[in-house]
Symmetry: C2
């Protein structure tokens, strides 16, 4: 099996939505990424940091999904990264109430030996210097390097971010981040500028409005599944990225057509993530359910376009 290495946060989240709230639930980008990627036939390793408060049951949950945790450093005297947010009624916007970096503040990622030859590397949203450090630790350049980032790094560490962009294949960001990174409002213009910065593929995530894939002069659109209820959007973007990375790792190569399918698989997994609070839905999700919903995605997207 080919290997996927993902670096990102393990966290505890306190989430408030109009429907529910939780005081302390498993969160962090790499939790969602790894849970999503675990549905593909790949070896997954994660690089992250936790504090002494991180519960054994959550490590056990990840291990039970065959996720290799040898790259997870535990700082016994420290606390795990904590995030708290509140969603508005439309579920499309949220306020961050608390961000406690804790052990994440001094995160010095260590790639375990057995994943230094990973075929696919997913660099989750972190300081660009941490992302560069992980890239530098690899024995060889992975076949595919996927990057996530956010407005904070675009604004505060643009030079380091530019260095990372030169060394990746796929950048996955949201529409506002694409506009900020490019200085262009039109996403088509934004994509052109961003593709000049290094990545061969740009994925622009638009939440409930789906995701766009840009490559050279081509563009593809993957819709989000229209849902009766969105219970909690937390982690949907990371789940999308994890599904995408898992699919590409299993495929062992990257092309525009492979990425099209990868986007659909990512969108499919994300549609489950939002059905319950936190990682709850992803913890029990089964492959049969995923396959069934992929059939709905076929109906949703496929049609015969007849020319006149």
């Amino acid at each position: 099996m080919s290997k996927l290495l993902a670096v990102g946060t393990l966290a505890y989240d306190a989430i408030e939505t109009p429907f529910d709230r939780t005081e302390k639930t498993l969160g962090g980008s790499v939790s969602y990424i790894a849970l999503a990627a675990s549905h593909f036939n790949v070896d997954i390793g994660i690089v992250s940091v936790i504090g002494g408060d991180f519960e054994e049951k959550h490590l056990e949950l990840l291990r039970s999904k065959n996720i290799d945790l040898s790259g997870v450093e535990k700082i016994q005297e420290g606390k795990t990264f904590f995030w708290s947010g509140r969603y508005h009624n439309d579920m499309n916007s949220r306020d961050t109430l608390v961000t406690e970096l804790n052990t994440l503040a001094d995160f010095d990622p260590k790639v375990p030996e057995n994943f230094k030859d990973a075929e696919v590397l997913l660099l989750g949203n972190l300081h660009p210097s941490i992302q560069l450090s992980v890239l530098d630790q690899m024995h060889k350049r992975p076949n595919v390097v996927i990057l996530d980032t956010m407005n904070y790094w675009i604004e505060h560490t643009p030079d380091e971010l530019e260095l990372v962009l030169k060394r990746i294949d796929v950048l996955a960001i949201n529409d506002e981040e694409a506009r900020q990174l490019s200085g262009e409002y039109s996403l088509v213009k934004a994509a052109k500028k961003i593709l000049e910065k290094g990545p061969s593929y740009l994925i622009i995530k638009k939440g409930e409005h789906g995701a766009l894939l840009f490559h050279q002069d081509q563009v593809f659109f993957a819709p989000a599944l229209p849902l009766e209820d969105v219970y909690d959007p937390t982690g949907a973007g990371d789940t999308f990225a994890g599904g995408l990375a898992g699919y590409l790792t299993e495929s062992r190569h990257v092309s525009f057509d492979k990425l099209k399918s990868a986007l659909i698989h990512g969108a499919n997994l994300a549609s489950f993530c939002v059905e319950k609070i936190g990682t709850e839905r992803m913890e029990t999700l089964e492959r049969k359910e995923i396959a069934e919903r992929l059939e709905i995605f076929k109906t949703l997207t496929q049609c015969v376009i007849e020319l006149d």
Copy 2:
């Protein structure tokens, strides 16, 4: 050839966008609808009303596209419906500056004899009683009746609107109108409630975010083409509806699969409409350009979804 009858407004518009402005340009729903539908092999007739100020060159433009104007009543002493609007910088929202109903205030639609047997009837956004009057004038119930409406009628004439909804096949409205008509925020829940009101098919238009098609328990998504520049969004929704109606008229029947293709054809035509101000782009659009862009829509939407 099968016949499409469309009822709607002929208007003069004054449009301001961040890029351009025009004091008096051809507008109105049925101008855009008919110009879009004229690209299919169908006979098009329109029912509308104009004032003495309506210029012969604009009638000639429509006639040159083989659009039958025998249902257009000219009130010599009256003025043509006038609308003025200003778009904000993001082009997604606009302020209506002026609405002068003029001859539209007493519009009493008269369906010409030669279109009373039209296979497809498109009821553009007007008072529901006008829409009902057109339906009642048909010799036989058309194969397909398509309806557009807006928040004003949902709010002010709900009972008459409910009567129209019982007699149509396809309802095409935007997301906010769907929410208002159903009282549901979730578009999936909204669609369920609206389909119970009469139409077999519901199209929810989301502007730059594409359009959803609901039918029984099925859903299909047609993306909008991502564009470098949106020059003027006026008429895009009507162009979408006109393309959809033209395609269905040429097809001579309606099904979920036919409507999927119809949505793509509508989205394709709408992508041209926004490239210039008012109807300008639609006046010169050629079938070759349409066919070429349909190929881009194939790349945009089609992919092989492999199951694991």
